[in-house]
Symmetry: C2
């Protein structure tokens, strides 16, 4: 029998008491200096630096969180060498036991959508080996079906953009028709897909992206989409707090995974960590920032537990 991605993710979240996905968004200017030595860097050099840095983050967070979210854009920016680096990071994350959510916001229709889905979805069956993929809904229902079919067939996950965390997300998403905002309309469709792909954990293989920066809408969508697992961006540097994201969870501490990218991977540059660790011990800052977020979510999210069986939990 085919595995169910969300069942597996839910089990890992429970085991670690850590509903966190660490976003791997390598930006050249923000990399620790050790990765930027040697002046002008070729695309190959930058791509290699992205892989080394991302794999270094993976090595730290693998014990602490269930998943990483790779932001495809930063690897794509570097051309073919960047794509090779991205493949390397996906493989390394899997070796360390992490789920890989590829944040690529793909969308198309018909056989083109099938090509994206087959190429990305599925740890063993696809060329990219991603466990889950973010998908944009603008093209409509027939653009989502091919992704859902492949995800179900391969035990992979999907996160459809519903209400995103950016300030301008309302331009289309908040448009009101027949008394209902567009994101509610998309949410209703995604909830239906979630019900159709439901697992033992009570949530579907098809999930939704719902930003932490609009807490009211987050709570509204949680109530309206009881079978849809949320991927929640916007925590930390974008302004979302632990109290804000608590509304994304059910009473058992399930139903959501909260992303943090810059706040964790570039934590070394925050003055508190720079003072404590210096720039060279950037991985210690990654660990401290991850543990800090775990503590914040455990305090704010009901039913999450304390992950007592996990070794070595301290802030030092």
């Amino acid at each position: 029998m085919t595995q169910h991605f969300t069942d597996q993710l839910a089990a890992a979240v429970r085991r670690l008491a850590s509903p966190i996905v660490v976003g791997l968004d390598p930006r050249w200017e923000q990399l620790p200096e050790v990765f930027r030595r040697g002046g002008d860097a070729s695309l190959e050099t930058q791509a290699w630096a992205y892989a080394m840095f991302s794999n270094g983050v993976v090595d730290v967070v693998a014990r602490l969180v269930p998943a990483v979210k790779i932001q495809a854009a930063f690897f794509e920016e570097l051309g073919p060498p960047g794509m090779a680096a991205m493949a390397d990071v996906i493989g390394h994350a899997h070796e360390r036991g992490l789920f890989v959510i590829l944040d690529a916001k793909r969308n198309d229709v018909g056989s083109t959508a099938v090509a994206y889905a087959r190429g990305y979805l599925g740890r063993s069956d696809s060329a990219w080996h991603a466990d889950a993929l973010t998908v944009s809904p603008y093209l409509g229902e027939d653009s989502l079906t091919p992704f859902v079919d492949v995800a179900v067939e391969r035990g992979a996950g999907l996160y459809v953009l519903v209400k995103t965390s950016n300030p301008g997300s309302g331009m289309l998403q908040d448009v009101v028709a027949d008394g209902k905002k567009l994101y509610r309309r998309v949410g209703k469709h995604v909830e239906r897909l979630a019900v159709e792909t439901i697992g033992e954990c009570g949530y579907g293989t098809v999930g939704a992206v719902v930003g932490a920066t609009f807490p009211e809408q987050l709570a509204e969508l949680r109530a309206a989409m009881p079978h849809t697992w949320f991927l929640v961006p916007g925590y930390g540097s974008q302004g979302g707090t632990a109290a804000d994201v608590a509304a994304a969870f059910d009473d058992h501490g399930r139903g959501a995974i909260v992303n943090n990218s810059r706040g964790i991977i570039f934590a070394y540059a925050r003055s508190e960590y720079l003072e404590r660790f210096g720039p060279a011990r950037w991985q210690d800052a990654v660990e401290a920032a991850t543990r800090e977020m775990i503590d914040q979510l455990r305090a704010a999210v009901k039913g999450l537990g304390s992950g007592g069986s996990r070794p070595g939990h301290s802030n030092d």
Copy 2:
């Protein structure tokens, strides 16, 4: 002074009297047999076949049309080797004098959108060297701005999805709010961006994707978006006719470029061409199908001209 993509495209369309973009959508099962010899193919072998096939199409159509549209999904499906193949095809198309529109439907916000834009847009400045890129609007205004800024800076083009050609496009795009359909709302925003990026030809650097399969909406949007160049998919195998797409043009035969993918690149498999050329002369079928479409558009589109200065125009 920076070049203006749409000015250049408009000049090429006029010179060739051929407002056509040939879609490079390589599908393994449909490739001419010569590319599929040897049984089970690795991703590397398939990627190499895609590049050889696509470059073979490029060699034929370079004299006949101004641009090719590469469907990223089919190359992405093959992982890193597919990405290397895509880069090879982009380079070959440029060598043959074609503009390259990358159909990747990318979208994101903030610095992530900047990374996509910088990575793809601009023949000389980017890693991928695309002349233009398709972009999805679901994330809203602040997701489009970074693409527009980079496109203007680098003289590259953009095509924002407005009304797509698939049967289910209405799920979101046709939602009516305040008496206005969503695609009209997106169209209005894109028209504003077109006006802000207008060139000497009277059209902006920012264009729109408007499908041939909804002729009424195509005519409606042409009237509502007088400064927006349209990229029109859905011709031929999806059902759009020359009469349908004629509404996308202004009275001088400008303002649109019509895509044809399968109808041209896999023309060898159509019974009329199979009979005439046999499977081995697939490139002759590509040429005949392209010339057929040129003739159809010249007959249907007012003001397009006959491209009399172009050598060797015949159907044999």
